[in-house]
Each structure stands twice: as structure tokens, then as C-alpha cells.
């Protein structure tokens, strides 16, 4: 199963180191292959270096592509992580 979803980065600092670490940890709990696309770039969401290199700032629009058995659950959790500003309050 493949799930495509659009995500907007709403937290102020964008995908900075701590937020990226949260995202990577969440993604690593799933079997699915998880990729994030931003403009020309496409990275493995289980790699913190990759996520940092996405250079996703506040207001960036990302495309999430999840492929695997648990794709639906994974994409739900990832989207809500972004919408909750990575539990950092801003």
C-alpha cells in the first residue's frame, strides 16, 4: 500500500535538529519505507541527516510518501506530529 499526503510545516523553527530527531524516531518505529519530498529534494524520513538536509522551514509544503503494510498508521502519526509542532509548543 502507498499513501501520499501533503504536509505543511507550521512550527516556527521548521525541521530543526530536535524536531528532526522526533520525526526520525517516530518513523523508525514503522516497517514502511517513508520518504519526504520538498521541491527537488527527496529524502528517507528515517535518516536525521536527510531530514535536516530537506531544509524545511516554517511554511514549507512537503509531500509524504509512505509505502508498506503499516503505511496508513504511519502517515497518520507523522501528520499529527507536524500539526502538533513536534510537541514543542511552537
Amino acid at each position: 500500500m502507498i499513501v501520499h499526503r501533503q504536509i505543511e510545516v507550521i512550527n516556527k523553527l521548521g525541521l530543526h535538529a530536535r524536531a528532526a530527531a522526533r520525526l526520525v524516531k517516530v518513523c523508525s518505529d514503522y516497517e514502511s519505507v517513508i520518504n519526504l519530498h520538498h521541491g527537488q529534494k527527496s529524502v528517507d524520513a528515517k535518516s536525521i541527516m536527510g531530514v535536516l538536509m530537506l531544509a524545511a522551514t516554517q511554511g514549507s509544503s512537503l509531500e509524504l510518501v509512505v509505502e508498506g503494510e503499516d503505511a496508513v498508521a504511519a502517515s497518520d502519526e507523522i501528520v499529527s506530529l507536524f500539526n502538533n509542532c513536534f510537541d514543542e509548543g511552537e
Binding site: 528532526a20 536525521i48 535536516l52 531544509a55
Partner: protein, 580 residues
């Protein structure tokens, strides 16, 4: 002997042996590896990565449970990076393909990553290259340690000798470094980066050790094992001094230490003069963390909290909630009054998130401080709301900078009324009775201080700007700097006018410029009737000592004479007499 100059932090002197923390790439060894030894070299790299991860985990385990979430988050990110194939696979390929040592391969990869990150056009995210560099440095440190070097942090206790401890020499110190620094008996540290208000400097002050920051590359002249003298007051590092210099500094160090202990003993003593006049000695702070130091020095309160710092070095200005959080954090740590000075920016004090016209020829006279704030309510209102809301957590006073006319004051009062109404309507918990004060730092305000005193709850004299504006000299302009004179009769008169206006209107008048923290002026100001001083944390105990040695009744007549003296040499002589 070699002398290097930077910004000194703390007033002490340290004498010790340098330990240079390797952080720059030109120190990375570079050599070829024979083909049959390549796999062994790769194992060496893998082992180093593993031990770097163990180090980080060990630091994480030492963090306190509370209040360290930020550092813990960063450590977590660094651990993930160590584990990331994008970081740790490429150096392996480089070793294999180019037949070079692990350190060199790692450095090559670090340079490539650095290039990628510095290409990112966003100040927050491109600064993440710092995280990458720190992680790489951890691995380099582990590689060198395994090579027989004891590494950045010696595991063995430093032997007590003539020089009781080490002086850390680094390009910059990370939060993780500073935690390790705490455990070792470090005597001082010096860094290429950092300013007197950076976190590095605050750390030095909290450890009560001297530091020199902002050496701008100067540390490249220093080697581990060099004998160093650190003079925090003068901001100078002396490397491998001759015996005479060393002896002179040993004596000075002793003297400072004795004086320091003498001053420390004053912490719990009252700030009252020989004739029983109680004086309030307040602190000027810039960072929320500094409230702890203010408390430990037993300052009467915070006489000036410069709120600008939270707006600096960031692309987006802080919102009301962030300000409310930080302000509450300060107030929750003290039961003493805290005076919040509203944003004093614009003109020569630029901030990234706030666009300003850079073509102004005379920024000090331009749209700054309250002028800018009244012009840009989207900037000002969140701050006012945050201050009113935070005020329920402590004793708050609100101080407005650079007032020069009464329309500004009227606009301010209307705005404050509006803010209070909005907060009430929206159901926020806030304190509507926060006292409102004005900075007297424009000559126009000082001359009409009585009129301002009628409308305000307190006044605060800002001497730095008052002198600059009254004498029409730019303090940062070297060519007219010699005209900067706090003892010019006009300055003394404006100060006196303001103090008298406060006494007549029965409202407090404080002084928070540099003059307030300079012991040379303490007695004179007491003689002029000033009872409320606010100064840098480092000056509080010195000024307290001076207050306790002063008999104001004897000073007053001398000050009367001083205010009538026009000859500058005579003025200085009188001040010496007052201080005798």
C-alpha cells in the same frame, strides 16, 4: 611571551596550563594507509563512532531530570546523527577508495556536509551545520583518544602541582562541553567565539572563573602545555610569560582573591551608609538566567531587565506566549521587584527580525525605542500584554525608554489602557496595577523631569544616552570620544534636576546607566540624593562596599560646591576629595 586580547569575563586572574581542545580541521592528521590495512582502519573508525555515542549517552545520563530538555533534545539528535548511514557510511567509502586514514576521511566528508548545509538559505537550518560539526568533532576526538592522546577530556585526575588546574582553550564550547567542564576543576577558559553576553560567558560567571571570549582566531597561537595567565578584567591572555611577569600576576591574583573574599562577605550585609541611609542596589540583567546570579548576590531587585535579548539572533520575533513564558520564568525565581524595560531597539541597535531603514545618517536620533514601538504596534503590543500577564507571578514594574515628549506619554497611556481592556475582555489573568515608569535619557525629558514625574509612577535615569545626547557626542566615534564626560556640569545638573523632581513628586528615581555601577561616582550620587542604583551584576558588591563607607551628611556640602564648579580639573579634584 605572547599577549592575546579578547573580551574579558569576570574580574579574576587565573594561572594554569593550556589544554587546547581540538576543533579545527588543520590539526587533523592526514596519511596514507596500505591496502592490506584498510579494513583495520575502517574498524578503527567504527569503533570511534561507537565510543562517541557512548560518551554522549553518558552525558545524557548525567543531566538533571528537570530543566535540561533542550540539551537532552540536542544530545538525542546528535546520537541519531552518529547512527545515520548518511553520516557514517561515506567516510568508510572514502577510506576504501582513497586509501587514507580515518581522521582525514571523516574530515573530507565533514567538509562536503558543511558545504551542503551552508547552502541552505535559512538561518535556523543552516546553523544546523554546527550540530553536524559537533558530531564530527566527537568522532575525531574518539579517534585521537584511541591514538594515545588522552583526548579532549582527561579521564585521570589532573595532578595537583604548582599550577592547580587547567585552562581550556577552544574555538567555542558546546552545551555538552560545558556540562563536562563543570565536573573538572577548570581554572579558566578562552574561546575564539562568543561575546560577553553569550552563554559561554554566563557559564564562566556562574562557575566564578575568569574567561576570555571573542579572541577571533587568536587561539591558533596556543598549544597544549603552554603556561597561560588569564586576566579577566583586562581581557588579556599571556602565554609563556617570563618569571617577572608571572610573579607580578601571582601577587595580583592573591590581591584580587583577598578582595573578592572581602566582597563576598558583604553579600548578606545591608547597603546602608555610615549615617544610616538605606540604599537600594539593583541589578541590570539581559538574559532570563541571570536572575539567579542577581538573587545570589542579594541585589534589591532587578532595576533594569533589558528585554531586547530575546529578540536577537533570530529571523522571527518572539510572540506573546514565548515572551510570557520567559518573563514568568524570571518572576518565578525571585520575590523581589523586576523592572522590565520595553524594547529599546532601532537606530544603532538593529535586530534581524525587524526591518529598518539602514540609510539613516543619525541612528541615535532616529526612530528607536518608544518611537519605534509606538509606530509598530504589532511589535509592541505582544510585549506589553506579556508583561501584564506575567506580572501576576511577581512584582513587576514597566519602564519605557527614550521618552522625549508628552504626546508619546499620552499615546502610551491610551495603548496601555487598551491592552488592559483587551486582556480583561479576553479573560486573561493579569495585574492591572503594574507601575509605569519612564527612562530619563533625553535632555528634553531631564529638563522637564517634574512634568514627567507628575504623570509617571517612577523615573529611571539612563546616563549613557543622557551624556551622549546632552554633549552631542557619539560614544562609538573614536574622534569625539574624549568629550564623553560624565562629570560635565550639564550632566550633573540634569541628574540633580531629575532626582529633585522625583523627591518633589514623591516617586522613586533610580539610575541604571554605567555611572550607577562605577564606584568613583557612588558617593557623589549619594550626595545628590540618589537612593536607588541599578548596575551590572559584577559591580554590586563593590558599590555596596563604597556605600557602607560613606557618610552622606559629609558629602552633601561638597556636592553643592561641585555643582557650581565649571573648571573640569577642579571638578575632578572635588570628586577625588569626595572619595577620599
Amino acid at each position: 611571551m605572547l599577549a592575546l586580547y579578547g573580551n574579558g569575563v569576570g574580574t579574576g586572574i587565573a594561572i594554569g596550563v593550556a589544554r587546547v581542545i581540538r576543533q579545527s580541521d588543520h590539526e587533523v592528521p592526514h596519511y596514507d594507509i596500505d591496502p592490506e590495512n584498510l579494513e583495520q582502519e575502517i574498524d578503527r573508525l567504527k569503533l570511534a563512532i561507537k565510543s562517541a555515542a557512548q560518551r554522549l549517552a553518558a552525558i545524557d545520563a548525567q543531566l538533571p531530570d528537570e530543566g535540561a530538555s533542550e540539551i537532552r533534545g540536542i544530545l538525542g539528535a546528535h546520537l541519531l546523527m552518529l547512527d545515520d548511514p548518511m553520516l557514517n557510511q561515506e567516510p568508510v567509502s572514502i577510506i576504501r577508495e582513497q586509501g587514507i586514514n580515518a581522521e582525514a576521511a571523516l574530515q573530507q566528508h565533514a567538509n562536503d556536509l558543511e558545504e551542503i548545509f551552508s547552502g541552505i538559505d535559512d538561518p535556523y537550518l543552516s546553523s544546523k551545520s554546527v550540530d553536524v560539526a559537533q558530531v564530527i568533532n566527537r568522532i575525531q576526538g574518539a579517534l585521537m583518544e584511541e591514538q594515545g592522546d588522552r583526548g579532549i577530556w582527561p579521564e585521570v585526575e589532573i595532578t595537583e602541582g604548582e599550577f592547580d588546574s587547567e585552562i581550556i582553550v577552544a574555538n567555542d564550547l558546546t552545551p555538552a562541553d560545558t556540562i563536562e567542564l563543570n565536573k573538572h576543576s577548570v581554572r579558566a577558559f578562552i574561546t575564539n567565539l562568543g561575546s560577553p553576553i553569550s552563554h559561554t560567558a554566563i557559564l564562566a560567571r556562574s562557575l566564578k572563573i575568569p574567561a576570555i571570549v571573542g579572541l577571533h582566531g587568536g587561539i591558533r597561537f596556543l598549544r597544549t602545555g603552554d603556561l597561560l595567565i588569564i586576566d579577566g578584567k583586562r581581557g588579556v591572555v599571556l602565554a609563556n610569560p617570563d618569571e617577572a611577569t608571572l610573579e607580578a600576576y601571582r601577587i595580583r591574583k592573591e590581591k584580587i582573591l583577598r578582595r573578592f573574599q572581602e566582597l563576598e562577605a558583604l553579600v548578606d550585609e545591608s547597603a546602608s551608609s555610615l549615617d544610616g541611609i538605606e540604599v537600594a542596589l539593583n541589578s541590570n540583567i539581559e538574559l532570563p538566567e541571570e536572575i539567579l546570579e542577581s538573587e545570589s548576590l542579594n541585589a534589591a531587585g532587578v532595576g533594569l531587565y533589558r528585554t531586547e535579548f530575546l529578540y536577537m539572533n533570530r529571523a522571527v520575533i518572539p510572540d506573546e506566549e514565548e515572551l510570557y513564558g520567559k518573563y514568568s520564568q524570571i518572576l518565578n525565581q525571585t520575590s523581589r521587584p523586576v523592572t522590565f524595560r520595553t524594547l529599546d531597539i532601532g537606530g544603532d541597535k538593529q535586530i534581524d527580525g525587524i526591518s529598518a531603514n539602514n540609510l539613516i545618517t543619525n541612528p541615535a536620533l532616529g526612530r528607536r525605542a518608544i518611537r519605534l514601538c509606538l509606530h509598530d504596534l504589532a511589535l509592541f503590543k505582544p510585549q506589553l500584554r506579556a508583561i501584564y500577564r506575567a506580572a501576576v507571578h511577581g512584582r513587576v514594574r514597566l519602564l519605557v525608554p527614550m521618552l522625549s515628549n508628552f504626546e508619546e506619554l499620552d499615546q502610551l497611556f491610551i495603548l496601555l489602557h487598551e491592552v488592559r481592556e483587551e486582556l480583561r475582555f479576553q479573560g486573561y489573568d493579569f495585574d492591572p496595577d503594574v507601575p509605569i515608569g519612564g527612562m530619563i535619557e533625553v535632555p528634553a525629558a531631564a529638563i522637564s523631569a517634574d512634568l514627567f514625574a507628575d504623570k509617571l509612577d517612577f523615573l529611571a535615569i539612563g546616563t549613557n544616552d543622557l551624556i551622549q545626547y546632552t554633549l552631542a557626542i557619539d560614544r562609538v566615534d573614536d574622534e569625539v570620544n574624549y568629550l564623553y564626560d560624565p562629570l560635565h556640569p550639564s550632566i550633573l545638573r540634569l541628574i540633580k534636576i531629575t532626582i529633585d523632581a522625583g523627591i518633589a513628586a514623591r516617586i522613586p528615581v533610580s539610575m541604571c546607566g554605567e555611572m550607577a555601577g562605577n564606584v568613583r561616582y557612588t558617593r557623589m550620587l549619594l550626595g545628590m540624593g540618589l537612593r536607588d542604583f541599578s548596575m551590572d551584576l559584577s559591580a554590586i558588591l563593590e558599590v555596596k562596599r563604597q556605600v557602607r563607607l560613606t557618610d552622606t551628611s559629609k558629602i552633601q556640602p561638597m556636592v553643592e560646591r561641585l555643582l557650581k564648579t565649571t573648571d573640569q580639573i577642579q571638578v575632578k579634584r572635588l570628586v577625588d576629595e569626595i572619595n577620599a
